[in-house]
Symmetry: C2
Subunit: 247 residues, 2 copies
């Protein structure tokens, strides 16, 4: 067996790590350029920030951007706590989530914007529907979809200006237009599946497979009858300002 050949394929100066919070079932992602030591972090969870800081410090990483795919309703983001620890970091969030306060070190992003730090390159896709301000990030063959589309599921559309018609457009006209082999990394999974691909979801997502009609999708989404997330009244106001919880 030729081990040397395959070794090279997996070795890259870009480090990618998927992290999980087993309380809220949230995935957090780190992408780091191990040459320059710059890194970005997607969807941190407040209760897991100490773990994340320890990891970043082990690699001597300089956190440049903390990206939130949306204003989460089920957990508080770790953004503000990370910004305290890493003075060179800025918060990146969709332009439709502007809070009514003067919050420093924020970069509001819109469709087609690019986030670039040394060899880390991400492209913003506005993907409203789960919430009005949802964005996804495409980078290096991977798409980070937040709650827009999950593995064999998608985000609910019954609060925070959620809209099933908009979600249909975001998935069909943005996410599903990426190459089939793109790996899909969501903000949550409740069945222990770490990722998917565009092709898999087109074929097997029971809510929005490739040939699903808009009418059927909207009917499914408008009849889920889910209870509201327990933390919504704490999480949404806190997440609008990067996870600062008012005392």
């Amino acid at each position: 067996m030729n081990f040397t050949r395959t070794m090279k394929r997996n070795y890259s100066k870009l480090m990618f790590k998927q992290l999980f919070d087993s309380t809220s079932f949230t995935y957090t992602y780190i992408i780091a350029d191990l040459n320059s030591k710059s890194c970005i972090l997607i969807d941190p969870v407040l209760e897991k920030v100490e773990r994340d800081i320890k990891l970043l410090k082990e690699f001597d990483l300089d956190l440049k951007y903390i990206l939130d795919t949306h204003v989460h309703a089920d957990h508080v983001t770790g953004t503000s706590k990370l910004m305290e620890t890493f003075p060179n970091s800025s918060w990146v969030i969709g332009t439709k989530n502007k809070p009514n306060i003067n919050f420093q070190r924020v970069q509001y992003v819109k469709d087609d914007d690019e986030i670039s730090v040394d060899d880390i390159k991400l492209k913003v896709l506005e993907t409203p529907g789960h919430t009005n301000g949802c964005i996804s990030f495409y980078s290096d063959g991977r798409v980070f979809t937040g709650d827009t589309i999950l593995v064999r599921a998608c985000g609910r559309t019954d609060f925070q200006e959620g809209n099933a018609n908009q979600l249909f457009d975001s998935i069909k006209n943005k996410i599903y237009k990426l190459p089939d082999e793109t790996l899909l990394y969501p903000a949550h999974d409740y069945n222990g599946i770490s990722n998917s691909s565009i092709k898999e979801e087109k074929l097997y997502n029971p809510r929005i497979f490739e040939t699903q009609t808009r009418e059927k999708f909207v009917e499914i989404m408008n009849n889920l009858n889910l209870a509201k997330p327990k933390l919504i009244h704490v999480a949404v106001p806190a997440n609008l300002i990067g996870g600062i919880i008012s005392k």
Copy 2:
């Protein structure tokens, strides 16, 4: 940004999926050759077998081997249930775990054995210490270590013929001899970290970093004072025969 270039890098006919059981904090792995449809599965969990079968059937996969890194003490393996569903599958386990019954469709493997199914190639490393029969698998830049070494931790050595001296040798002389950039995929993680690398563990594993002495390691391991796993009396006898629970 050149998206086309990076797309190709992630596209492969070999599919790799990491799966998680949030009750026992166990990782299960699927490696599939999407051309031939053959696949192997590492460390399945009984309670998650329906999820695994659904995934394999979606991809129309023919399960050839179910690999158990060891006789687990904290959960029951899904091997026997998977073998019922996939008639072409065999169980692969370390040669030191031979049960005293005539169990069909088993392949006992030892150091340096190779498991090969179409384009999927794995090499067996005997890594005793957590249990006497523990094995690890190396494949395509990844090592699946079971409980031999975990992210910033390692398996305990206080039952099932566990032995701290043997574990020291297995980690230092087998696992740490793999190239530094090899990605390390354990059987468990309790902090939501999905993987590591040989280099990371050599630098940051508090039990067995690169310059740790044998004496210090054995002292740490012999003074953990852990309670026994709750399921040990059910799991160990069941796992010796692929997860069949006697009624």
